[in-house]
Amino acid sequence: MPSDRRYRGDRPSWLIRGGAFAGLAFMHIPVWVIILYAFTTEDRTYQFPPPGLTLRWFEAAFARSDIWQSLTLSLGVAACATVIALVLGTFAAFALARSTFRAKDVLTVMFVLPIALPGIITGIALLAAMKLGRIEPSFFTIVAGHATFCLVIVYNNVVARLRRLPSSWVEASMDLGADGSQTLRYVLLPQVATAFLAGGMLAFALSFDEIIVTIFTAGNQRTLPIWFFNELFRPRDRPITNVVAVIVIAVTLLPIVLAYYFTRPDDEHETAH
């Protein structure tokens, strides 16, 4: 079905069509390349095309205890940061979605600062505070850093859904005799649930993959991205690094795809209810 933005005789010029497909290819080729390299038999150079394909690097990677330790740490941090972000982000979204009060604009801007300013600012600021307060880096300092920008993601997702919700629904529920908690349980929460889940998924993926802030708050601990970052400058374990890259892609993309499914605008479970 042609889109309504298109009028008769309006065909994309070859320049636009070609540019669009070339651009899409440009964005995808590096990702496919990295997956291909995880299977190469060559272990010293980045020779292309690979001389042969093998699965033995996966076996070698799974036998490494340092990778398991880093993976466990990253999953733990992401889980804790996501839980904190879900609670605090949802609270903030419910408070700011519809209400009007004097400081509201300031608060709205404040809640986007951690993603509007470069990550290095959050990182160095946390480090500066830790140095001033003589706080040693620990699991909790990593979680505190992650929860701060994860909170923003959850807030954005939930607040967007709340704003799209017609206010007449809440009024109708109240008119029909439901009290505040019933309205919350039967009207607001079911509508917000998928946005809440999507926010959580995105927050988890973002935290699992975070490096820029983590380097400043982690001290000597090695999350999986920090392990990966160190490997970038130490070519000894190249094939293992390639395999970890594929693992990281898998662990981050799965929640992202789920989140996309939860928030598709023409989603069935949004229109069906």
């Binding site: 994309p12 651009g23 990702v31 390349v33 980045y46 020779q47 951690p114 993959d209 820029i212 970052f229």
Partner: protein
């Protein structure tokens, strides 16, 4: 439960306060507290002899930042790169955003949106690493250029003074490519969102009044896309200003602001100078945001 909900319904400010206190406490202490600590550190200085931080308010660190030509060079180099990356991202994003917002429909449209989102959400570090493989001396780009018989052109490009280098993976050209790749989706999505909002009737009217498609594009579509471009450019500009991983992995010789912050807090142990350096992108971004706001960037987000 019922009594409680009635209580809060009658007193909306209590309800607001109950909801807002936990996130505000967290944000106030962890985030804003840290930003203040950063600002405070930038007004301290490091003692040259003892290498200890002297906790007295002083402008000496900022003086050091401004007076040393090497530091000024770092700021200029970073800003130049950020502008070049932003302009290039806008140029590459324009056909993609136009196609996905105005021409693609149904499955093709979904394909384009997912196609832009997936690389955007693929692990940042993995993408940087992938580019290291692509740019390496014996890597794919060199192989492909060789297949096309254009090795001479690549060598000539790398021989360009200032931006060239021994190989793509240790030149500003390579770094520029990686930056453009990394931030491109952040430009495409707001641009496409702005173009989606251009009403079809405007294009129809323009065509009825005798404009050729290229004229319609230049005089109708492009001006209406400006808020989207401005919104996208906030991301590309801000992300390039603060990044320290790409400049250190794609090893061109000069320092960038982010690298300077990283090195000063790490091996040099000079937190005050690192803090002062990180204030530079904050100021630049606020200047940029105020320009972008005039172009309507916040309505397009």
């Amino acid at each position: 439960m019922r009594a409680a909900s009635t209580f809060f319904w009658r007193r909306p400010y209590w309800y607001l306060a109950l909801l807002l206190v936990p996130p505000l406490l967290w944000f106030g202490t962890v985030y804003l507290g840290s930003l203040f600590a950063l600002l405070a550190q930038s007004f301290y200085r490091i003692d040259d002899f003892t290498a200890q931080i002297v906790r007295e308010p002083t402008l000496a660190t900022y003086g050091q930042l401004v007076s040393q030509p090497a530091n000024v060079d770092i700021v200029l180099r970073t800003v130049t790169m950020a502008i070049a990356v932003t302009v290039t991202c806008a140029l590459i994003a324009l056909p993609i955003a136009t196609y996905m917002a105005r021409y693609a429909a149904g499955r093709m449209k979904a394909l384009f949106y997912v196609g832009v989102m997936l690389p955007m959400w693929t692990s940042y570090l993995v993408k940087v690493y992938a580019w290291r493989l692509l740019l390496a001396k014996e890597g794919i780009i060199a192989w492909f250029v060789g297949k096309l018989g254009l090795t001479g052109v690549l060598d000539a490009l790398l021989a360009t003074p200032a931006v060239g280098g021994p190989s793509l993976s240790s030149s500003y050209i390579g770094m520029f490519l990686v930056f453009v790749y990394m931030w491109l989706p952040f430009m495409i999505l707001p641009m496409a969102a702005a173009l989606e909002r251009v009403p079809g009737s405007l294009l129809q009217a323009s065509a009825d009044l005798g404009a050729r498609p290229s004229q319609t594009f230049r005089n109708v579509v492009l001006p209406l896309a400006v808020p989207g471009i401005a919104a996208g450019s906030v991301f590309t500009f801000s992300l390039t200003l603060g990044d320290y991983i790409i400049p250190s992995v794609v090893g061109a010789p000069g320092y960038f602001i982010g690298m300077m912050v990283y090195v000063q807090q790490g091996t040099a142990g000079n937190i005050p100078l690192a803090a002062a350096f990180s204030v530079v992108p904050i100021v630049l971004i606020f200047v940029y945001l105020s320009i972008a706001k005039r172009l309507g960037a916040f309505d397009a987000l």
